[in-house]
C-alpha cells in the first residue's frame, strides 16, 4: 500500500469508529437522561423495553423511523428539509478535532486518537460552533410557525451571547499552554490533578461550565425550548426522522462540549496521579478520558434535574453583564501572570514583512502613528 492510501485508510477507520461511538453514546444518553431524571424525581422512567428498559432507544428509533414525515402547509420546503442536516453536520464537524487520548502505536505506526489535528484546533471548534446557529435559525424560520420562530430567535440570540464568553474562557487555557492545538493543551497539564487547568483557571472553568450549558441549550438555559411558553421551540413542527436528526445534533453538541471541557480543564486523558496512567504496561488514557467525559455529561443531566429555568431578561443580563466581564478579567490576570513568570522577552522570530502582508506598510503606519 502506498503511504497515501494508508493515510486515507486510517482516516476512514477513525471516522467510522468515532461516528459509531457517537451514535451509540447518543442513544444511550437519551436513555440515561430519562432514567436518571426519573430517579431524581422519584419516578421509574422507561423500564419496559428489555432489561431495565435499556432497549428504549431502539424502540424510539424504530418508532421515529416509521412515523409520517410532515412538512407543514406554508413552510419553506427546501430550508425546512435542509435544517436538520445543517445542524447535524456542524455538530459532527466540531467533534472531529477533539482528541480522545495520546498517540498510540498500531501495527508499528503512530496514530493520534483524533480525526484531524490542525494546529488551530480550538479555533476550529469555535468557528464551526458559530455555524451551528444556522441549523436552528433555519429550522425555526422555515416552519412558518410563530412558536418555532420565537424559539429559533431566542436560541440564536442566546448562542451569540454565550459563544462570546465561551470563547473568552478558552483564552486563559490557551495562554497557559501557548498553543491552539488540543493535544498540546492537554500535555501542558501533565503531572497530577492539581496541575489540571480547572484549579489554575478556576474562573475560566466556571465561565466555561455556565457558557457551555447555555450554548447547548440545556436547563437552566433551555429557553429556546421552554415548553410552557413555546410548545417545543424551533423543532415544534418537526416529526419523524427529521426530529430525530435535530435531537441527535443537540446531543452530539452536548458530547462535544463535554469532551472539549474535559480536554481544556480536566486534563483530557491524563490520570489524576501519574502512577495511575498505565496498568501493566497498558495505557489507560482512553478510560480516564471516558470517565471524565461521562461525569461531565452526568453533570448536565443532574443540572436539569435540579435547577429551574431562567427568565429571558435574566439570561441576557447575566451573559453580557457578568460572564463577559469576568472572562475578560480572567484573561487580563492570566496574561499578566504568564508574562511575569516568563520574565524575559518571548522568543523573537525574524520578521520579513515583504513575504506576507501589505505592500507598503509605511503608507498605512504613517496616519496611524499620528493618531496614536
Amino acid at each position: 500500500m502506498t503511504p497515501l492510501m494508508e493515510e486515507l485508510l486510517i482516516a476512514v477507520v477513525k471516522v467510522l469508529v468515532i461516528f459509531s461511538v457517537l451514535l451509540t453514546l447518543f442513544s444511550l444518553m437519551t436513555y440515561a437522561e430519562r432514567r436518571l431524571l426519573a430517579f431524581m424525581q422519584f419516578r421509574l422512567g422507561p423500564n419496559r423495553t428489555g432489561p431495565y428498559g435499556i432497549l428504549q432507544p431502539v424502540a424510539d428509533g424504530i418508532k421515529l423511523f416509521f412515523k409520517e414525515e410532515v412538512v407543514p402547509e406554508g413552510a419553506n420546503r427546501w430550508i425546512f428539509v435542509a435544517a436538520p442536516g445543517v445542524a447535524l453536520v456542524t455538530a459532527f464537524l466540531a467533534i472531529a478535532v477533539v482528541p480522545y487520548g495520546g498517540p498510540v502505536t498500531v501495527f508499528g505506526r503512530e496514530v493520534s486518537l483524533q480525526i484531524a489535528d490542525p494546529d488551530v484546533g480550538v479555533l476550529f471548534i469555535f468557528a464551526v460552533s458559530s455555524l451551528g446557529v444556522y441549523g436552528i435559525v433555519m429550522a425555526g424560520w422555515a416552519a412558518n410557525n410563530k412558536y418555532a420562530l420565537i424559539g429559533g430567535l431566542r436560541s440564536a440570540a442566546q448562542m451569540f451571547s454565550y459563544e462570546l464568553s465561551l470563547g473568552l474562557s478558552w483564552v486563559g487555557v490557551i495562554l497557559l499552554a501557548g498553543s491552539f492545538r488540543l493535544p498540546d493543551i492537554v500535555e501542558a497539564q501533565a503531572g497530577g490533578f492539581w496541575r489540571w487547568n480547572w484549579i489554575q483557571q478556576i474562573v475560566a472553568f466556571l465561565v466555561y461550565t455556565v457558557a457551555a450549558t447555555a450554548e447547548v441549550n440545556r436547563t437552566p438555559f433551555d429557553l429556546p425550548e421552554a415548553e410552557t411558553e413555546l410548545v417545543a421551540g424551533f423543532h415544534t413542527e418537526y416529526s419523524s426522522m427529521r426530529f430525530a436528526l435535530l435531537q441527535m445534533a443537540e446531543y452530539v453538541n452536548m458530547i462535544t462540549v463535554a469532551a472539549l471541557g474535559t480536554n481544556l480543564f480536566l486534563g483530557g486523558w491524563l490520570a489524576p496521579f501519574t502512577s495511575l496512567q498505565s496498568l501493566g504496561g497498558i495505557d489507560l488514557g482512553l478510560l480516564w478520558f471516558a470517565a471524565k467525559m461521562l461525569s461531565v455529561l452526568f453533570f448536565f443531566i443532574w443540572l436539569r434535574g435540579t435547577l429551574p429555568r431562567f427568565r429571558y431578561d435574566q439570561l441576557m443580563q447575566f451573559g453580557w453583564k457578568v460572564l463577559v466581564p469576568v472572562a475578560v478579567l480572567n484573561i487580563l490576570v492570566t496574561a499578566a501572570v504568564v508574562v511575569l513568570l516568563a520574565g524575559s522577552e518571548p522568543e523573537a522570530e525574524p520578521v520579513a514583512p515583504t513575504e506576507v502582508g501589505l505592500r507598503s506598510p509605511v503608507l498605512l503606519a504613517g496616519p496611524a502613528g499620528a493618531l496614536g
Binding site: L4, L8, W78, I79, P118, D119, V120, L123, F124, F126, A127, V128, S130, L131, V133, Y134, V137, W141, L153, A156, F160, F180, A348, E349, V351, P353, E355, V356, G357, P361, L364, A365, A368, G369, L371, G372
Partner: protein, 163 residues
Amino acid sequence: MIDAVLFYAFAALALGSALVVVGQRNPLYSAFALIVTLVSLSAIFALLGSPFIAVLQLVVYAGAIMVLFLFVLMLLNVKPEGDPPAGKGVLRTAAFLLVAVLVAEVGTVLWRATARVPPVFDASPRRVAHLLFSPQYVYVFEATSILILAALVGAVALARKET
C-alpha cells in the same frame, strides 16, 4: 492528487454558489448561497496550508456577518424580486456593455496567467501574531481596535435612543 480533487470540488462549489447569489431572485436563497461560497473559500484556504486564515474566514464572514444578513432577511420577511421593469432600454444596454467589459477583463487576466503552484507561505497563528505586533503593523492594528471600539460605543448609543 487528492488535494487537486478537493480543490476543484470546492472551487466548483464556490463558483456555482456565487452564481446562485447573483442569479437568485429570492434574497434569502442568495444569502444561503453566499454562506456556501464563504465556506468553500475557507476550505480552499485550508487546502493551501493556512488553517488559521480558513478558520478566521469561517468565524468572521460565514459565522458573524452572514448571521446578521440572515436575521434581517428573515425578520423583515423580504419578498422575492419581481420581474425587472420593462422599457428601460438604456439601462439594459449599459448593463450589457459593463458585463462585456468585465468579461474582457477577466479573459485577459486568465489569458496572461500562467498555471503555477502558489508559493508556500507560513500563516500560522504565531507568525501572524509576530507580524501584527511587529513595529511595522502594531500602530495600525491598535488604531483599528480603537476604531472598532468607537463603532461599538456608537452602536450602543444609537440603540439606546430608541427606548
